[in-house]
Every structure is written in C-alpha cells, then in structure tokens.
C-alpha cells in the first residue's frame, strides 16, 4: 500500500464514519417522535395499571405484550407489596407480559435474557417455571444464575445438588449470590442445604456458602459440623474465616475448640475472624489470648481483639483498661482507642 493509499483510506474511513453518524442522527430524528409517543403512552398507561381499568381499556392504549407495558408493569411490581403486587402480577400475566418475558428469555441477547430471568421471579405460573428451568441450561452463566435465583425466590428451585451441577457452583461459578440462592432454598428446604455441609463431595466454597446461608437459622445442630470443618481446615484456606464467622453468628459455646485453636493461626485473616467469633460467642476463657492479640502486627486482628474484649463485658473491659496504661505502645493505643470509641471508660 503506497502512501497515497493511506490518505485515501483515511478519507474513506472518516467519510464512512460521518455517513453512519448522519444516518444515526436521522434515525434519532425519526425515532424521537416515536419515543415521545412511547413516553406519553407510558404516562397514560400508569394510572390504568394502578387503577381498576379493565384489560380492554389497557389494551386499547397499548398492544398485547408491548415492551412498554412489560417495562412499566415490572417497575410497578417491584415498587409495591402484598395484595397490590398480586393484583399487578395477575393483570400483567393476563395482558401478556409473561409471554413477552418468556420469549425474551428464550431468544433475546444475553443482557435481555438476564433481565427477563430476574423479572420472571415475580410470576409464579407453571409456564414461567418451565421457562426458567429451561434457562438453567442457558449458555450464559449469568442467565443460569439469574434463573436459579428467580426460581428459588419463589420456592420453585430444583434440588440443590442439581443446581450445583448445572451452574457449576463452587467450581466455575464463585459469585457471592450463591449464598443468596441457598438462603432462598433453605427457607423451605433447609435439610437440602444442610446435607451439602456434610457431603464430602461438595466443593469447599459451596460448603462455606451453605454454612453462611444457614448461619442465621439458629439450628445449633450445625455447630459441631462447622467446628469439625474448621478444625480440619488449613489456615491458608479462604473458607476458614467464613466458618469462623458463621460460628460467631451462632453464638454457641460448642464453637470454642475451633475458635480457641485459630486464635493462634499464622494467617492474620484467620486470627481476625477467630477473635471476632470469640467476642460474639462470649468465650471468656479467651480473654487473655485476646489481650495478647492487642499487640498483633496486623491492625485488623488488634481491632477485632479489642472489639471482642468489649463484647466479653466487664472482665474484658477491665483488661482493656489495664492494658491502656501498661501494655506495649501498640497494645496501649488499641486498648485506649477501643474503649474511647465504645464510650466505655475503664
């Protein structure tokens, strides 16, 4: 290619870009009127959907399954609760919104499929369930997870083990939303999530997510299993702090062996999680260990140790108070400021 061709190519490319841009401007001019009409249609549709207008009246304003009807109905459904939501869901279903969403979920580009999968959570009819179940095998991992979350939020999720396989949970899929998925499932089928914790074939991130999902359940029978997992873990394991935090959430003294052991972990993140758990559980026997951690090289460990000592009540505060006047400089500072921050003067 000669130098002149460079000039010619550049002129050609700039010309083509300008032509395309002119085309887009013309399209915008043409669609602006349509967009204005759509906005006006949306404004007129709003009182119809919120009021008691008949389906015929609504359909006189827009055609069945129109995207504008679908978008507005979805927005309104997200904004209201209770009977009002049920009424809107029923209206939207009758007016073809679910049909539109199911078509989108089956055929549209990834972004639209994902939104459709998220939105269909609000529509509990069998056809929607089938569509969402089919989306569990979508080629996009994001769509698969969105479909699973939607099914789970309306108590329609398939068996947890099947989801682990379909979604690659803990192997390909590492999203924090796995916890949300398990929390939703455990509302009605806690045993299924519980079984994952004891299943040796289950990947550690899935076990950790299952533990976090069940941590707020108050099912103390889980504590020994989590303690066992924590004791068997390597201090470098990323799941270990999650186990310890879950033990803290249970606030059960049976967690003591794991917490006491990992207060001396070589990794700061494990020591920090163990200190936090010790405070939450109220393990008074760890008070002197926590006092020692006020001089830990890592700030987070010192901070959690101070916080834990405050949680231990009067004995912990007394130790903090003593340390604020006679510990090492690092420990003194941690103790003094923890007390000041907690507004408890020693």
């Amino acid at each position: 290619m000669g130098l002149y061709s460079l000039w010619a190519v550049s002129i050609g490319l700039a010309g083509v870009a300008l032509l395309i841009m002119c085309g887009l401007i013309v399209v915008r001019l043409l669609t602006q009127r349509r967009d204005d009409a759509l906005a006006a249609g949306r404004r007129s549709l709003l009182p119809l959907l919120l009021g008691d207008a008949s389906d015929e009246t609504v359909l006189a304003a827009v055609r069945t399954g129109s995207p504008i009807l679908s978008d507005l109905a979805i927005e309104l459904i997200e904004l209201v609760r209770g009977e009002e939501r049920d009424r809107l869901v029923a209206t939207a279903t009758r007016l073809g919104v679910t049909d539109h969403l199911r078509r989108t979920l089956a055929r549209a580009p990834v972004r639209a499929r994902m939104v459709a999968a998220e939105t269909l959570a609000r529509f509990p009819d069998p056809a929607t369930t089938d569509a969402l179940e089919a989306a569990l095998e979508d080629k996009s991992a994001d769509v698969r997870l969105a479909a699973a979350l939607s099914l789970a939020s309306s108590d329609r999720a398939p068996e947890a083990r099947r989801l682990i396989d379909l979604l690659g949970l803990g192997t390909g899929e590492q999203s924090m939303l796995i916890v949300a998925l398990f929390q939703e499932i455990s509302r009605t089928r806690p045993g299924e999530i519980r079984a994952l914790i004891d299943d040796p074939a289950c990947p550690p991130p899935v076990k950790a997510a299952a533990i976090e999902a069940l941590a707020a359940s108050g099912d103390y029978s889980l504590v020994p299993s989590i303690v066992e997992l924590a004791l068997a873990a390597d201090p470098a394991d990323e799941e270990l702090p999650r186990y310890l935090r879950a033990l803290g959430a249970f606030q059960h003294p049976a967690a003591a062996p794991a917490i006491v052991r990992w207060l001396g972990a070589p990794t700061w993140w494990v020591r920090s999680a163990a200190a936090e758990a010790a405070g939450r559980v109220g393990l008074i026997e760890t008070a002197y260990t926590l006092l020692g951690l006020l001089d830990d090289p890592d700030w987070w460990v010192r901070f959690r140790a101070g916080e834990a000592l405050v949680r231990l009540g009067e004995p912990g505060r007394r130790l903090l108070s003593e340390c604020s006047s006679c510990g090492t400089e690092r420990a003194r500072s941690a103790a003094r400021l923890t007390l000041a921050e907690q507004a408890v003067r020693g």
């Binding site: 700039a14 994902m114 998220e118 939303l177 923890t338």
Partner: protein
C-alpha cells in the same frame, strides 16, 4: 526547485517514515480499541432498573468507604457531601478528608452537618501527614470527617484508607457527583467474582451545561463553551473507547481518581497511593497489577461504563492546559518508575499491551506528532519530500483522527444513547471533526509541556479554580 543532495533526501524520508509509522501505530491501537470496545459494549451486563438491582444485590453488597479528599472546597463541599450521603447503597460510609484547607472547608462541614470531635481506632499502615482530628455526629452515622495537615491528594487518600474499615473503598473527587445507584452498579463485579476483583473504574462524564439540582444531574444537556464540548468528545473517547477496550483485554492501566472502587486490603499491601507524583491514580493501578502478577494470583481490574460520576470540566485554556500537562507528567512518571515492566514477560499482557500502549500513546505519540507538525510540511515545502508523504501525515493526524472521534460517537449512540436530543448528536459530530484542527495540536503542545515538566522534575498540581456546579 533546489537540487538536494541524496543524503538530505534520505534523512527527510527517514524522518517522515518515523512520524508516519508512529502515527499509524497509534491509529492502529485506536482501531483495535474501537473493535474491543464495541464487543465489550455489546456484551456488558444488563442495566437492570434500580429496584431490580437492589433486590438482587443489596443483601450481599459489601460495605464501601467513600473517600472524598477536599482541599479548599468550601464552595462545593456541602452540596457534594449531601449528594454522597443520599446515595442508594445498603452499607457505606462517607469519609471526607480535609487536607489542611486554608479556606473554610472544615467550618462549612461542622456548621452544616453538626459533626463534633470523636476518637476512633484506625490503622496506621500507610504514611501520611498527621491527622489533627476526626469529626462525626450520631445524627449522621454515615459521615466521618478527617482533618489533617496538608499533604496533597495522595496523602489525603492514604489517610482515608487508613481510617476506613470497609473492605472496599471508593475514591472520588469532593467536587464530583455520583449517580445515586452508581455504587450498586459498580459493586456488581465484586459480588460476582469476589476472589478475583481487585479494582474497578466507572465512567466520568462532564456536567457542564447539564441541569443540576440537589447534587443530582436532573437533565443532560450540552454546554455552550467550545472547550467543554471538545472535552465531552475527549472523555467519550477516553472512557467509552480506550478504557473499555483495555479493560476487555485485561490491561487497564488507569482508573480515574474521580471514581474508582478498590479492595482496601490489597491497596494497603502495595503501600497505598504513592506520594510525590501527580499520576497517583495510574500508579496505584500499575502497582496493583505488579503485585498480583508477582504473587501469580488470578485477578481482574475492570472498567464498566454504567456507573457514572459527573464532574466539572475546565472552560478556560490556562486551567485546561495545566490539567493536561499534569496528566502527561503523571503518565510519564508512572511509566518511567515502572519501566522494568515494559515488554517484560514476567508481567504478561500488562507488560506487552498495557505498557506498550502507554509507550505509543503517551510517551512517543505526542513527541513525534509535534515533530511531524514542524518537519513534514517544512521538508515538503523545501522539496525534500514528495506530496504523498504530506498527505500520509495529514491522514494520520487529521482524517484518521476524525474517524476515531466519530466512530466513538457512533458507539455511544448505538449502544448507550445518553445524549437526549438529536441536536446534541449534530453538535458533537461537528465538534468531533473540528477538534482535530487546532485543538488536537494545542493538546499535544500541552502534553509536550508536561514532558518538559517531567524532565525538569517540576512538582505540584498547579492552581485549579473551582466555581461549583451551576444550579438549575
């Protein structure tokens, strides 16, 4: 016509080829970026409505500390903080760092938000100028003010990082406005890939000309000032094309200081923001790349176009010139400080593509282009170069420039459509053409000045006058 000696002609042709080859390389880089940006935009995650996004993410969104360094921001600080406190995010803390302002920034904060001195136990891993005091109010538990001795932006951010306790922090400029759901959109990759995400940048848009009320952009409109208009096209090119493409290639080297989300722990591990540089935002990203590559850990540093932060662009040539010289100096400081990463196989694609990109676009590009402006027309005028060389030079400096700018606008209109009126597109298209004739050359001159400042080791930010956002 002068009959030149063949060696004179050979030298002239060699010079012309160096200029043309560098320009072509730069254009090639832009074309590749356009392609990657197009792919990235078409595959970006959905823009769910706010309620849907909240339902999906709020329960698992990690806490975020918003760090807003402020130096002599008394005009804008109250509105900025009010806007930050109104953000739509489940768990966040706004940490305003008054960096030894000589005006009434601190007094404005105390008077408007009723904050009082408090004590808090904070990390002291990062070095910074002494903290004089912390201020908070039980009435506004999400607000914490740090008052410290002046030390510059990096120093202020380091103090904020030390005091913050959230696992993620978001650095912003105190005079910027975040869209209300920007944090929720920005945190999405951290939720979806918690083990890999290290840092993320969002789009910076210019609010000049737009209607602003209560710290929110109410309606988007174009400014009347030509310089501000040109900067709108420039920002589109920088964010929509370059950063999106570099992010897609996983070689993003800059996250704007005006809006970036970082994993706090990793930033502490790399020593926080470096001091004594004006390119601290770029340098931090490079340090994170180096750290993760050295640890051989898989990681992601991303840019996503949806979360938007609005800022004020200078409408004055002097201030804009200073800003651009400073940006250039920042790029050069970072490039030369980490030059061992250039084409170093140990740093993989970041060494080859990321640093290669800085070399072509920021280090060699402006120098050789300015050299071309002087030499190519001169050598052609005296008969040492054929007209083909002149045309090729014009192609790489003007017409390819028009193509790249207009193509970015096409991407914006085809994928995002954030300019509300067709007339906005007409104006921006005209500006995208015009900027190549005069503004581009001026911009290169500013960058050259930045080069000179770098070589003469000039320090400091220069004066940046704030006028505050125009209210509706």
């Amino acid at each position: 016509m002068i009959d030149w000696h063949p060696w004179a002609t050979s030298i002239a042709i060699t010079v012309a080829w160096i200029v043309i080859a560098t320009g072509l390389l730069q254009t090639g880089v832009y074309v590749v970026q356009l392609l990657f940006a197009g792919v990235s935009l078409s595959r970006r995650p959905p823009v769910s409505n706010a309620a849907l996004l909240w339902r999906r993410l709020a329960g698992h969104a990690p806490p975020i500390a918003l760090l807003a360094p402020a130096y002599n921001e008394e005009i804008t600080i109250v509105e900025s903080v009010t806007s930050l406190l109104a953000l739509h995010y489940p768990s966040f803390e706004v940490i305003v760092i008054n960096d030894g302002s000589s005006d009434n920034t601190l007094q404005q904060l105390i008077a408007s938000f009723g904050v009082e001195p408090v004590e808090r136990y904070y990390d002291q891993t990062l070095a910074h100028q002494p903290i004089r005091g912390l201020y908070a109010s039980p009435r506004l538990p999400r607000l914490l003010v740090i008052d410290k001795d002046n030390g510059g932006k990096s120093d202020a951010l380091n103090a904020g990082i030390n005091v913050a306790r959230a696992p993620l922090f978001c650095s912003i400029d105190a005079d910027s406005l975040l869209e209300s759901d920007a944090l929720l959109r920005a945190v999405r990759p951290f939720i979806e890939e918690p083990d890999k995400m290290v840092a993320l940048g969002g789009t910076i848009r210019l609010a000049n000309g737009s209607r602003i009320d209560g710290g929110r952009v109410i309606s988007v409109a174009l400014p009347r000032n030509f310089l501000a208009l040109v900067q709108i096209v420039e920002y589109l090119r920088a964010f929509l094309m370059a950063r999106l493409a570099l992010s897609r290639m996983q070689v993003l080297t800059v996250i704007s200081g005006a809006f970036g989300l970082f994993r706090r722990r990793l930033v502490l591990e790399v020593g926080g923001y470096s001091q004594g540089t004006v390119g601290e935002d770029m340098e931090l990203v490079i340090k994170l790349h180096r750290h993760m590559r050295d640890r051989k850990q898989p990681y992601r540093i991303e840019f996503i176009p949806e979360p938007v932060c609005w800022t004020e662009a200078p409408e004055d040539l002097t201030i804009l010139g200073r800003q651009r010289a400073r940006w250039q100096r920042g790029s050069l400081e970072t490039f030369f400080k980490h030059r061992d990463m250039l084409f170093n196989p140990r740093y993989g694609r970041i060494g080859f593509i990321g640093f290669g990109h800085i070399l072509v676009v920021d280090v060699l590009g402006p120098l050789i282009e300015v050299l071309g402006y002087v030499l190519v027309p001169l050598l052609w005028a005296v008969g040492l170069l054929a007209v083909d060389y002149l045309l090729a030079f014009l192609a790489i400096t003007f017409t390819f420039g028009v193509f790249v700018s207009v193509a970015t606008l096409i991407l914006e209109e085809a994928e995002l459509r954030r300019f509300p009126r067709a007339s906005d597109l007409v104006v921006l298209t005209v500006v995208a053409v015009l900027e190549n004739f005069g503004y581009r050359q001026l911009s290169n001159f500013w960058r050259l000045r930045g080069f000179w400042q770098f070589l003469t080791r000039k320090q400091g930010w220069g004066k940046m006058t704030r006028k505050g956002f125009a209210r509706s």
